[in-house]
Symmetry: C2
Subunit: 372 residues, 2 copies
């Protein structure tokens, strides 16, 4: 197989009596020439439309296929990558993108994680040997003082990464330019008391025009990382934060859920794993199984693998399991995914009333589970 071409893996539902090969060719045309066969130069059939590299029936009527494409269709452009990956076929039920291989020549044209798992870990040495613990200052509607107090309580309790809630953006209740220095100070105050190095991650999601200003405010406040929601802002935002600002990027998947369902869309390990990692996410939040969203252990395994596995020059990213993670499920997580990951617990701490004490119990539970 030619390693210099893009390869996209599909699951395609093929009605009985139809040719899987024809259906795959139709998908490949839809994603490239968007014309019926015969309406373009004949050599495009091999070059631009792409080549069906493999095709097999996995189950009755469900085919797994790989199509390879010319990397010049994508260049180094984010919109061109997304369009080839899942453009017009997004309107076609029964087509799911399940794999993405990019040649090294293309990988070099996207930033990948600048910090990655290892450099985030280095910022929080207290978490050596166990998963990082992540929580959020919330809810939206609180003022700056209340959010800063929650940041401080979480830091005093030992939470490593304390992010703004993804719903806390530019609302007037806690404006970004006031919120960020106050929350950063609160975490620093706690760090002086505990001797730890908790990080506060402002949510820089908002209008593109103000992004540079928000990143400057973030840096001026001494923060080392940010939260951003790429599906709200456009995925390319991930490429625009890291280098210039020396900030690590934690990506939140809000608004992206309908794209990662089963049997349609893009498999979570491809979209939240490969794509977000390639574009520059140092850490990716996803929904853990057993929480309040339906996701399987197998999907989670694949996603965690796609974030951490070796991938040419692209640094490993930190998997952040959230969405209803409870303190009681920590041991299972560590047993299955090891310590090179992070656990995001929000509601599970707030429900206990005393936020600092709840955070402390969670960190102890994570430490305990990691020793076992």
């Amino acid at each position: 197989m030619n390693q210099q071409r893009i390869r996209i893996g599909y699951h395609v539902a093929v009605p009985s009596g139809h040719s899987a090969e024809s259906q795959l060719r139709a998908v490949a045309r839809e994603q490239t020439v968007e014309l019926p066969a015969g309406c373009y130069p004949p050599e495009f059939e091999r070059t631009i439309v792409g080549q069906v590299e493999s095709l097999e029936e996995e189950a009755e009527g469900l085919w797994r296929a790989t199509v390879s494409y010319d990397p010049d269709l994508v260049g180094g452009s984010v919109p061109q990558l997304l369009n080839l990956l899942y453009g017009n076929v997004s309107f076609q039920p029964g087509v799911e993108v399940v794999a993405l291989h990019l040649p090294p020549s293309l990988l070099e044209r996207y930033p990948g994680p600048r910090f990655g798992l290892a450099r985030i870990r280095a910022l929080a040495p207290q978490a050596a040997g166990r998963p990082l613990v992540v929580s959020a200052a919330k809810p939206v509607g609180l003022g700056v003082a209340d959010l800063a107090a929650r940041c401080e309580a979480l830091a005093l309790g030992g939470v490593d990464l304390i992010k703004d809630d993804h719903g806390v953006m530019g609302q007037a209740w806690a404006p970004f330019p006031e919120r960020v220095p106050r929350c950063a100070e609160a975490v620093e105050r706690a760090n002086r008391a505990t001797g730890r190095a908790s990080c506060y991650l402002p949510n820089v999601t908002g209008p593109i025009d103000g992004l540079e200003e928000r990143l400057s405010v973030t840096r001026a406040a001494g923060c080392r990382g940010v939260l951003v929601s790429p599906f709200l802002m456009g995925l390319e935002v991930l490429t625009r934060i890291g280098d210039a600002h020396d900030l690590f990027v934690m990506a939140h998947p809000t608004f992206g859920g309908a794209m990662v369902q089963r049997g349609r869309g893009i498999a979570p390990d491809v979209l939240l794993g490969r794509v977000l990692r390639l574009l520059g996410a140092d850490a990716v939040i996803f929904l853990a199984p057993g929480g309040r969203f339906p996701i399987s252990e197998e999907e989670t395994d694949a996603l965690v693998t796609s974030l951490r596995e070796p991938w040419e020059s692209v640094a490993p990213a930190l998997p952040v399991a959230g969405g209803g993670v409870t303190p009681g499920r920590v041991r299972d997580w560590v047993a299955r995914h090891g310590v090179e990951s992070a656990l995001l617990v929000g509601g599970g701490l707030y429900q206990q009333g005393d936020l600092e004490a709840a955070a402390r119990r969670l960190v102890e539970a994570v430490e305990e589970a990691s020793r076992g």
Copy 2:
């Protein structure tokens, strides 16, 4: 009902034995405080979480509900609007957003169409009394000369709006700075021959950093409008094109398909209708029923209505029906949707071989159908 609040309509699947009211409250919490009840100030239950305004069972286990929210959650921000509309619930199967009402105070904070249906029509006076005819120069992979020749043939045949194919972006085969002036010249040359006013719409989709430059090239080439794919670039891109550049914006839905399926996601009339129109799309391409994508007549009716109906200060947008429209279906379209719309035919023209002659037959068919 309080017209000063945001109202979002949902279809929610409620398993038997569960309370629909509780499930709706859970959706409203997920979209706002993202905390279990009891973990936030009690007054937030009414203010920040929102109020269930109506709730009725439409079919066995399928409920229709309206929840109203504080407009300050959204402000004038695109990411805040999208997050409230369909943030974390995007990961919840069985929740579909089916309506969106915004108070006038919020509507004023988004640009809406600057040209809208009426000013696009005014640019193409030859199309008075009939739907506009739209086609595309394609496929990706061709060089500038070949694409310009196709533009010229389509303009000579009488096509009103000739766009780049949505897959033709920044590829090296036809670089934007060379392609746009050449294609614009080709259409102008045809206009001098025909006496018509066909418009060439460059596809400005690409990296955000180059957007201003691409818009400048577009204006310098004398173009009056552009094509853009908001789901590839982030929906906010729609707010950034119109005013400063005096260009109308045609939005292409590529990459957005998984968000508008039935029973999950955002209904097409809300996402491709209300939201894209509000953010600044003067024209919106969508998939017509009977083409190569599955979409119902009812969904199309709702979408066309949402683009054209009176909506406070927001100008009507032009519905552009594509995705496998064939010349043979023109009469049905006009009978059902009238002439204040546009028909996008791509493959259906290319399949006929002589592009200019095929375009001429299509325009004649549209004129004929519009005479009644």
